[in-house]
């Protein structure tokens, strides 16, 4: 039975256009100078097969000398197994894949550093040829056989010792390769010293290998995800060809996206490889030690050895947490320590708020037009203040006794010596808070202050009249004035001040009542 995709034109299938993968065995398909992208391939790293001068030239001139050497090596290997034709094809593919991977990594990371460690150290650095490709991998220059001075270790006798470990006979015959007994003797001595030196703790010793593994994993992820000619990418293309249904095509598409994502993620992983390796080694060993020496002992003390062993066997980890499991746990912990909330959001620029124009222009006293008021219905003349008698009656209904205030003012004023009584004034102000007492022109003297009772406070305002002195204090303390009594008649300026606050002054001009505060 034909499916819907058999009836549908192929152009409408929800799959990506298929492009025939390039033949990886054809070196002409490799990006060349004409394509604008030429991977810089430096001299091959030491130890890699190199082309010998007497190797026969390949028919394909575009194949590099490095390729030819690899092919020859692989062909020789395959010929030893018998099937030369199939071996040549396989070796070509493997060789091409390896070269692409190498070139891609070189393109991403740059060419390898020129100061790579060479295996022979001083002897080579003293004048040996650096052309490793033209020399045996483990060879040294012939002119390096000059006698080297013996370097004695601290506390060691001048006579060079003939120390050699028990497995000296297993060491390679260096003298045969170097031809210098001094170098041989120093090598033996260095190995003996190294053998006697206590090995570093595994948490330190494993740092280097862990960094290497983390970096290698990251490079592999980068190559697999971002190199279009990697084995994973080619396998994905091959699987895409075989897709028969849209579901398969969608699954392949999703797999490719994940692979690219892993490749992108490999870049920061590669940058963080040293930190990852250090944390894995230190944290893994520390966690393993803690689990084996603390947690397990604690569990044994709580549940017994037999029970703990049963649990470990059931879990598949006899003796506690393995180093690999501990590393995995450390990786999870490190991921858990990462920042949360994504990238910090950039600060927003301050926005300018559009405010409505003020009703008053700058440097202007004109106010917006007041609301219309009909004078026929609302009198614009303010109401007359109540007369003193009605205000006094209202004050007495509130329990305010102006006569008592007046008596209190005279009592405090009488403490002054006679001439001071003539020249000064004493005022007593009743408020909705404390009673405020003050002097005019000269503030209250010591003798007056001694007469103050609870609920009475003193007000000071040098050289001011007594009335403003006590009223200002009430305003500062946010108390409403109720009634005011003075020791002498209120002057005209003080009268205006009292009226401005809504006060009504008695005919004797020694009492003022503030009916608006009731």
């Amino acid at each position: 039975m034909p499916s819907i995709f058999d009836l549908m034109p192929a152009s409408l299938w929800p799959v990506q256009p298929f492009r025939l993968p390039q033949d990886p065995a054809r070196s002409s398909a490799w990006p060349s100078v004409a394509s604008g992208w030429t991977p810089a391939v430096p001299a091959p790293p030491p130890g890699w097969p190199t082309a010998s001068a007497d190797s026969p030239a390949e028919a394909d001139a575009s194949v590099s000398a490095w390729d030819r050497a690899m092919r020859q090596a692989l062909a020789a290997q395959s010929s030893a197994t018998g099937d030369r034709g199939l071996g040549a094809l396989t070796s070509d593919q493997i060789l091409a894949n390896a070269k692409r991977a190498h070139d891609f990594v070189t393109w991403v990371l740059g060419p390898p550093s020129a100061s790579q460690a060479l295996p022979l150290g001083d002897a080579l650095m003293r004048g040996a040829s650096h052309d490793v490709g033209a020399a045996p991998a483990d060879g040294v220059a012939a002119n390096a056989n000059a006698p080297l001075p013996y370097i004695s270790a601290p506390g060691e006798e001048a006579n060079p010792p003939s120390l050699a470990p028990a497995d000296t006979d297993q060491q390679p015959d260096v003298s045969a390769a170097i031809g210098s007994p001094n170098i041989e003797r120093q090598g033996v001595r260095a190995r003996a010293i190294a053998a006697m030196r206590p090995p570093p703790p595994p948490a330190i010793a494993d740092i280097g290998p862990e960094i290497y593994r983390a970096g290698a994993d990251a490079i592999h992820s980068i190559n697999a995800g971002l190199n279009p000619f990697s084995a994973e990418a080619l396998a994905g293309i091959a699987a895409e060809v075989k897709t028969a249904t849209p579901t398969d095509a969608l699954a392949r598409y999703w797999e490719n996206e994940k692979r690219v994502g892993r490749g992108l993620l490999g870049i920061p992983q590669l940058a963080a490889a040293p930190l990852t390796g250090i944390s894995r080694s230190l944290g893994g060993h520390a966690l393993q030690w803690f689990d084996a020496n603390v947690m397990r002992k604690l569990a044994v003390k709580m549940f017994g050895e037999d029970k703990v062993r049963q649990i470990e066997q059931a879990r598949g980890s006899p003796g506690g947490l393995s180093y690999e499991d501990a590393k995995h746990a450390v990786d999870q912990i490190m991921m858990g320590l990462g920042p949360r909330g994504g990238m910090p959001r950039a600060r927003l620029a301050p926005t300018t708020r559009a405010l409505p124009p003020p009703p008053i222009g700058p440097r202007s006293v004109e106010i917006a037009e007041p609301p219309y008021v009909d004078p026929a219905t609302v009198p614009l003349v303010p109401a007359d203040p109540p007369d003193f008698d009605s205000a006094l009656a209202a004050a007495r209904r509130r329990g305010i006794d102006p006569d008592a205030l007046s008596a209190r003012a005279k009592e405090i004023h009488s403490v002054l010596h006679p001439r001071a009584q003539t020249a000064r004034t004493t005022a007593v102000l009743s408020t909705d808070g404390p009673t405020i007492i003050g002097g005019g022109k000269v503030d209250l003297e010591k003798g007056q202050l001694r007469l103050l009772r609870d609920g009475e406070i003193h007000s000071e305002l040098p050289r001011a009249d007594a009335e403003p002195t006590v009223l200002t204090k009430a305003m500062v303390l946010r108390h409403r004035p109720l009634a005011l009594a003075t020791s002498r008649p209120i002057c005209s300026s003080c009268e205006n001040f009292i009226k401005s606050m809504g006060g009504v002054i008695s005919p004797s001009r020694t009492i003022a009542i503030f009916p608006g505060s009731f």
Binding site: H417, R419, K441, D443
Partner: protein, 201 residues
Amino acid sequence: MLTFDSKQMKGQIDPLPKRLRVAFAAACTQRQLLNYVQTSAANPTGDPEAVKRILLGLWECVEHNVFEPEKIRHDLVVCEALTPSHDTESFPGMEFAQRALLSLAYAFDTALLDDSQEAVWAAQCAVEALDDYARQRFSMEHDIQGRRPRLASIPIEQAELSRQQADLEELHAAANDPGNEAAVIVRIRRRAEKDASSFFG
């Protein structure tokens, strides 16, 4: 620590003759004279020369032990007219100028009346001026009840109380030696004139 006790001071002054009482009150006024003179520029009714003149006339009365009531009343009227009061427009130092002239008026009262209380009030004006000055100068706040902190221990107030006690001791000595009164009065006057410049420290 010295404190101003009006009753005790009155008891000290009572035994003194009128001449020496007036000398004590005039010495208290003399030490405050600069408080009036130095504020006269801002005082709308200030007349420092008139005040100096009537105080000098009082000292002459004391030194000569001649008290003419008419002249004293005249000078007292002048003093009362120049005293800043609640009707006077305020000016800086008004409270000190007022106390200086109140003290002078009490000195004239001492010369007119046969009572020692006026001499006590003359001395009280000086102590109150120092108390007020210290409160304004050092911005001493009052507690919530409005009671003023104890100011008796302020050095300038203690110095004035010491001077008053020293004057009273010398006057008592002069009272016991009537032939030495004039010399003591001159010495107290000179000393008061000298101490006036350091009245506020």
